[in-house]
């Protein structure tokens, strides 16, 4: 049965008029300066559709009508499937779901000793199993990465890990046309063919245009996914003052323009391809130039525009929540995660990703994923809001108990216990209880919970022959990619010792 996440959209910073202003501004940008595009394949698609393409300058200027027609073709809802149907989620309107992690991270926080080190494929397996186990995590990306394999084939190894270790929907990257074809082949192997995959998309593509206003060759992966009719999510990340104007609204125009270009591309390749709207205006830390995931402007820029435009276009949406700039699962991380997670959820972002990202996406932390699962639970409770009706007003119960009585033993009380969110790892104990329990910090509790889950939980294993087929596809693709890649396979980051960036 398809899960239908709670509808939200309680928070509306911007009006429909604002949305229209951003939309029209983006159309003007696309029509006048357009998108830089080094890929001849992508240019040809726009050229055939009647866009103004300059092959020499590698530029496509996209007329309004193409964008508007494409927006009309994109489906309003997507059933994003898990390989186990009980994990399917309906993406539409303001239904809210949290997801684990994002794209691969250069460092993982070792769960045993808290040190930063390069993640391995085994970390990828473990992180995926962890996300598969946590109840408030509804779709899977990563807080690890396979850095111990030839880097040219990194994403294929990561997909192998994802398909094997989760039964939940997978949203992930595979740069370029070749990797995209191979990943689709893997997904089709898991579900029993390409036609079945189209009916049951157990994955969606995540890709990024390059801000400001550029496609890259990597984006040819969108063509492959569109051809197969599998959902495409393009996440432009212009940063205020660097790759977008300093103002959030201006950066939203850049981001929206890139998104519209990507959506148009997908609809031109294959009308009615499911696309997930992903309009983000990202904040920069001006002192370090790093993307400031924990900044208030980041929360607003990635959620408010996203939901405003997503609702304006009536498309499913993908945004941020659960990410922090802190290097540790500490007070800063908790505050930032609650802020961006809450903004996204109250705005009504369908797919809220990045739970467990620290250091602005440079460090993945499994403890933080567990903490985010708890925070997501609190947020989802708030999204559900307060129900006021005869039953909940409980006037008869109040009369029945009367002055000076208690409500403990009332049938109504027991029936409505679900009114309360029950925390799993956050401490609500007495001081005495806390001391007796070993005076644990939430970080310790989260770490123990991670270890417990990894001991106890595995996704249902894929049939052996399918596991073997996946392994074969990766093996063959790796040979091909290493041969044609920009460097030799020996240069994988696995040569790196566990390193720590300078602080």
């Amino acid at each position: 049965m398809v899960q239908r996440g709670p509808k939200s959209g309680h928070l509306r910073f911007l009006t429909n008029d604002h949305a229209r202003d951003i939309h029209v501004s983006s159309l003007e940008v696309l029509e006048s300066v357009g998108m830089h595009c080094p890929s001849a394949k992508i240019l040809e698609i726009f050229d055939r559709a009647g866009a103004a393409v300059d092959f020499k300058e590698r530029r496509v200027r996209i007329p309004q009508h193409l964008v508007e027609e494409s927006l009309k073709k994109a489906p309003k809802e997507i059933v994003f499937c898990g390989r186990n149907a009980k994990n399917d989620i309906l993406l539409e309107d303001s239904r809210v779901y949290f997801g684990m992690g994002g794209t691969p991270v250069p460092y993982i926080r070792d769960v045993e000793n808290g040190e930063m080190r390069r993640p391995t494929k085994e970390d990828m397996n473990q992180a995926t199993r962890l996300g598969d186990a946590l109840p408030n995590i509804k779709f899977i990306m990563t807080v690890a990465g396979a850095f111990d394999v030839p880097y040219e084939a990194e994403y294929l190894h990561e997909f192998e890990s994802l398909f094997n270790n989760t039964e939940k929907p997978i949203l992930y990257s595979c740069p370029g046309a070749y990797a995209a074809k191979k990943v689709l082949e893997m997904a089709a192997t898991v579900v029993g063919g390409m036609e079945e995959l189209k009916r049951k998309p157990i994955l969606a593509l995540y890709t990024e245009t390059v801000s400001p206003l550029s496609f890259s060759d990597v984006n040819e992966n969108m063509i492959e996914f569109a051809k197969a009719g599998i959902p495409v999510t393009n996440g432009p990340m212009p940063m205020c003052g660097a790759s977008g104007p300093m103002t959030l609204a201006g950066t939203a125009v850049v981001s929206n323009a890139e998104n519209l270009a990507a959506i148009t591309l997908c609809q031109l390749v294959n009308p009615h391809t499911p696309v997930v709207y992903t309009g983000w205006a990202c904040a920069i830390d001006p002192r370090t130039s790093r993307c400031a995931y924990g900044a208030p402007e980041f929360g607003m820029g990635t959620s408010i525009f996203n939901t405003t435009m997503g609702r304006y276009y009536d498309l499913p949406t993908y945004g941020f929540g659960g990410c922090s700039d802190s290097k540790l699962p500490d007070a800063q991380a908790g505050a930032e995660v609650m802020m961006n997670g809450m903004l996204a959820a109250l705005g009504g972002v369908n797919l809220i990703h990045d739970c467990g990202y620290l250091a602005g996406g440079s460090i993945g932390s499994m403890e933080m994923v567990v903490i985010c699962n708890e925070i997501a639970g609190m947020i989802l409770r708030i999204v559900k809001g307060v129900k006021v009706d005869e039953e909940t007003l409980a006037v008869d119960v109040i009369k029945n108990v009367g002055p000076g009585g208690h409500f403990m033993s009332q049938k109504h009380t027991l029936e409505h216990l679900k009114e309360l969110y029950l925390p799993v790892i956050f401490d609500k104990d007495s001081e005495e209880g806390w001391i007796k329990g070993g005076k644990k910090d939430v970080r310790d509790v989260a770490r123990l919970r991670v270890k417990e889950i990894l001991r106890e939980h595995s996704a249902e294993a894929l049939p052996r022959d399918i596991q073997e087929k996946l392994r074969q596809i990766v093996k063959e693709a790796e040979k091909e990619l290493v041969k044609t890649g920009s460097g030799s396979g020996q240069m994988s980051l696995h040569h790196l010792p566990p390193t720590r960036p300078k602080t």
């Binding site: 300093m246 920009s486 460097g487 010792p497």
Partner: protein, 216 residues
């Protein structure tokens, strides 16, 4: 750092490209030596760099100061110096670029501007630059330093390739190799056999000077 309260320095510190052009033209019209004007401009950039280091100014200020300075030097002052057959004293030649597969070049450009401001000749090979090109360019211009930037963890390995190719072409004792970019670290640069790592543009200049044994 002592700085005379002059128009050129003030123009750079106003972050207004038109003012920088005006002040440069005016100085030349008044008969100032173009080499001196370049010195004043780069002095002003160093002030901006210092203020950035101290947290008083931001990255945007660095870029907003550096771009107009580079522009007037290239378009106005270098042709003048060529005419006069004069040139600025160079601390050394640096070949810079963003590695193959990577198109993120803002950081590399700022490093280039600050190296230039410090007195280096900068030969910028651009972005998405294959390892071979760093190597051939270094040979062609007789570089003292090669610097490569990578923003992606997947393009970081190209930095190792540059070291290997520099060694293979027998240039290792002629050039110092510096590396930077978000996923790069001190340890990584040591691991691949490079010489220096700078976390930001200011540190890149300090590291370069130290490697070439230039007094700061």
């Amino acid at each position: 750092m002592f700085l005379p309260d002059d128009e050129i320095v003030n123009a750079v510190l106003s972050f207004d490209a038109d003012k920088v052009t005006e002040a440069t033209k005016k100085a030349l019209k008044e008969g100032q030596d173009p080499v001196k004007v370049v010195d004043q401009l780069t002095n002003a950039l160093r002030v901006v760099g210092k203020k950035f280091e101290e947290g008083e100014l931001f990255l945007m200020h660095l870029v907003a100061a550096a771009e107009p300075v580079q522009k007037v030097i290239k378009e106005i002052l270098e042709p003048e110096m060529l005419k006069n057959k004069t040139s600025r004293t160079s601390l050394g030649k640096v070949v810079l670029g963003t590695v193959a597969g990577d198109i993120h070049d803002i950081g590399k450009n700022i490093v280039g501007a600050m190296l230039f401001a410090a007195g280096f000749e900068v030969c910028d090979t651009g972005k998405d630059v294959p390892a071979e090109q760093f190597v051939s360019k270094a040979k062609e211009v007789n570089a003292n330093v090669v610097g490569a930037s990578a923003l992606l963890s997947t393009t970081l390995p190209i930095q190792r390739e540059i070291v290997e190719k520099i060694v293979a072409t027998g240039q290792r004792d002629k050039v110092k190799l510096i590396f930077g970019g978000a996923p790069a670290t001190d340890e990584w640069v040591k691991e691949i056999g490079g010489d220096g790592y700078g976390e930001n543009a200011i540190e890149a200049v300090n590291v370069t000077k130290k490697l070439l044994k230039i007094q700061s």
